[in-house]
């Protein structure tokens, strides 16, 4: 074991926080991600991380808790995407893009204020690439609470949500209101994305949302199995990625560690590749 896990990994409190929060985020992202992939909303899922960044920058400007800013911006941005997109379903892509462009502009402005009001640098970097190693342990209870709330909300709306994603006409016949359901889901998505963008950064947030879910959907037959698979794949990617990032500090001669985000994305890509090979092999067997 010693060659695999470098010294201090288990006893290091920073690593402990990272492992716990990373797993929590992976669980939420996996469950939400399956619905995102089935509904074809990867773009919205990604755009919401950038929207959340605007909230994070705003929060740090007024001195509020970052998570509050992330959540508020995510819900506002997601709501406006959904409001613009549902009326003309095929306009969803464009509506998402316009909201994303505006949010990016807002982020630029707020980051400009942040950087001119304090001499602190590194704000862009930490928001974009956020490092799970820099998260303070005090975030853990709040993070877990938001995660639990998100999962509970997803659980409540899951039936009408899946029905309206897979068969909108049948859903409408059963009295499901697609607009209300879409809005409910985008709020769930925004919360999930806000949480993960805060904890692990914007890049990883998209990777964790889309990667494990698409891999699991290829392998599993049912949606329940896919959800469990996505959660397992996500948690494995985060934990392995954290381990690899931690270890890389000791491996490289310069003692410069590979960022967590790069390590986790690496694991996720391996998972996606394996699932593609698996489904190809299954297709060949017939």
């Amino acid at each position: 074991m010693h060659w695999l896990v470098e010294p201090g990994f288990w006893s290091n409190p920073v690593v402990g926080t990272a492992l716990v929060l990373g797993a929590v985020v992976a669980v939420v992202s996996g469950a939400v991600g399956v619905v995102v992939v089935v509904r074809g909303q990867s773009f919205a899922g990604h755009a919401l991380t950038d929207v959340a960044m605007a909230g994070g920058a705003g929060a740090s400007l007024v001195g509020a808790a970052p998570l509050v800013g992330f959540l508020l911006a995510g819900v506002l941005g997601g709501g406006s995407m959904e409001a613009a997109g549902t009326e003309r379903v095929r306009d969803r892509d464009v509506a998402t893009g316009v909201v994303l462009g505006a949010a990016a502009g807002l982020t630029a402005l707020l980051l400009y204020f942040v950087s001119s009001s304090s001499s602190a640098t590194g704000s862009t970097q930490s928001v974009l690439f956020g490092s799970v190693f820099t998260v303070s342990p005090s975030v853990v209870p709040l993070g877990v609470a938001v995660a639990a709330g998100t999962l509970a909300a997803l659980f409540v709306v899951r039936r009408p949500l899946l029905l309206s994603s897979l068969n909108p006409e049948l859903a409408a016949a059963r009295g499901v209101r697609p607009r209300a359901i879409g809005l409910a889901f985008v709020v769930v998505l925004a919360a999930s994305v806000a949480l993960s963008a805060l904890v692990i950064g914007a890049i990883l947030s998209t990777a964790l949302l889309v990667g494990p879910a698409s891999a699991a959907l290829r392998v599993a037959r049912g949606l329940g199995g896919a959800t469990l698979g996505a959660i397992a794949a996500g948690v494995a990617a985060v934990e392995l990625g954290i381990l690899a990032s931690y270890d890389s500090f000791y491996w490289s001669s310069a003692h410069r560690s590979v960022p967590v985000s790069a390590c986790v994305v690496g694991v996720i890509l391996v998972e996606v590749a394996l699932s593609a090979l698996w489904s190809r092999a299954r297709a060949r067997r017939g």
Binding site: L100, G105, V210, P259, V265
Partner: protein, 276 residues
């Protein structure tokens, strides 16, 4: 950023602003024209992913001491071809994975090269004031090249955007055309990113063209209007940034969204009037 250098008392049309105006104008024209097809082909995610992902290339180029622009172009084209090859059914999962791969690579390269904040800021938000004469010339060549390619493929590209199935049946090489379009998008984004930033490039690629296509009915006019609306965004953005001292990315992002919302309102109003 415009904001950081703007001191009061200098005219917005001062000589040192000339390159900024020229570069902004050229980028606006290309983004608007290419953007019309981004919107019609529903490729907004790719339009966002390619310039953002390309910044990994800039980081990598810095690491090995090559020109960042070369790195941007190479990575942008590579991710465009990747999306074209893997995304057979416009799979946005493929685009998302391509994007995070590029960004993660960029993060790793940045960590390895030790380049920090200012470089990232410049790539994301642009440095319109730092544009050199040489960059303006490169952008002018880009405008010429893009115009030529778009003119040549205009009809088949439009045809395949309306129905890939029908266009393919008629003998249009839809896969080649899709790859051509994505490479065009990649090259124009890669050249625009160092000047105006990845975020601004994207905002111009979606908002003004989405507005233009709602305001006119003909493809050729929509193309022209998209370029004009995009130009309006940039010019107003430069002026606003100059007078307020705030970053230009903010104004361009907001003006693009305003154009879209206004065009939608106009088209809804027209629809309700047409159908009393």
């Amino acid at each position: 950023m415009v904001a950081r250098a703007s001191a009061s008392g200098l005219a917005v049309f001062a000589p040192f602003m000339a390159n900024a105006w020229l570069a902004g104008t050229l980028v606006a024209i290309v983004s608007g024209a290419v953007g019309l097809f981004v919107v019609v082909r529903q490729r907004a995610f790719a339009a966002h992913a390619i310039p953002n992902g390309a910044f990994a290339g800039a980081a990598g180029a810095t690491l090995i001491g090559a020109s960042p622009l070369l790195g941007l172009v190479v990575f942008a084209v590579a991710s465009a071809l990747g999306v074209a090859a893997l995304g057979r059914r416009r799979d946005d999962v493929v685009t998302a994975l391509a994007l995070v791969t590029m960004l993660a690579l960029g993060a790793a390269l940045l960590a390895a090269s030790g380049a920090y904040e200012p470089a990232i800021d410049a790539l994301l938000f642009g440095e319109l004031l730092g544009v050199s004469r040489a960059e303006v010339v490169a952008l002018a060549l880009l405008v010429v090249g893009t115009t030529v390619v778009l003119t040549v493929v205009f009809r088949p590209l439009l045809y395949s955007s309306l129905s890939e199935e029908i266009a393919a049946a008629r003998g249009v090489a839809v896969r080649v055309l899709d790859a051509t379009f994505l490479v065009l998008l990649a090259v124009s984004a890669a050249l625009a990113v160092p000047v105006v930033g990845a975020l601004l490039t994207f905002a111009l690629t979606v908002g003004p063209p989405a507005a233009a296509r709602m305001l006119v009915r003909r493809p050729g006019r929509a193309l022209a209007l998209a370029a004009v609306l995009s130009l309006a965004c940039v010019w107003a953005g430069i002026a606003s940034a100059y007078w307020s001292g705030w970053p230009i990315g903010f104004f361009v992002g907001v003006y693009a969204a305003v154009e879209y919302v206004a065009a939608r309102a106009a088209s809804s109003w027209r629809d309700t009037r047409a159908r009393p």
